[in-house]
Symmetry: C2
Subunit: 88 residues, 2 copies
């Protein structure tokens, strides 16, 4: 069944304490190549049947109105998961 | 600066109470097209300079060893964010 992925990230100007904590821990574990880490959310919405434009629009609305907090978060991606990845 | 995206989702056999809660709330708000919702995490790792194969491999290792809990989560995606999306 098709899956719509919604990605939500904290706005750039918003502090991200989880990301900061990871950023502090990475070098201690030997990962020194990353200068910044931000942590957001990924939602997978399963659709029964075909993903029409209407359903995708509904997913976008749900992403803006319910899955994200527009004061502190941006919806950065709403897309249908491609079949190959979806098969996992 | 290039960004590596790491996506982590709860394993299919693991209960996902946050996803279940969203799934219950969606129809009440008029979103009726989605049969299942799962909530995972999205990390954005900023890299200074070019993303070499070595850095991408390090991101994969960090994803498996630090950004996810392999008992309950799967790393479903580690990829460089394409420029167009990264420009936001």
């Amino acid at each position: 069944m098709p899956i719509i992925v919604v990605d939500v990230m904290p706005k750039p100007e918003i502090l991200d304490p989880q990301g900061k904590a990871i950023n502090g821990a990475l070098p201690r574990l030997g990962f020194t190549e990353f200068s910044q880490v931000r942590q957001g959310k990924r939602f997978e919405l399963t659709v029964e049947g075909e993903v029409t434009d209407e359903i995708l629009a509904q997913a976008r609305t749900a992403a803006e109105e319910m899955l994200s907090n527009p004061v502190i978060e941006d919806v950065v991606n709403v897309a249908v998961l491609d079949e190959a990845e979806g098969a996992r």
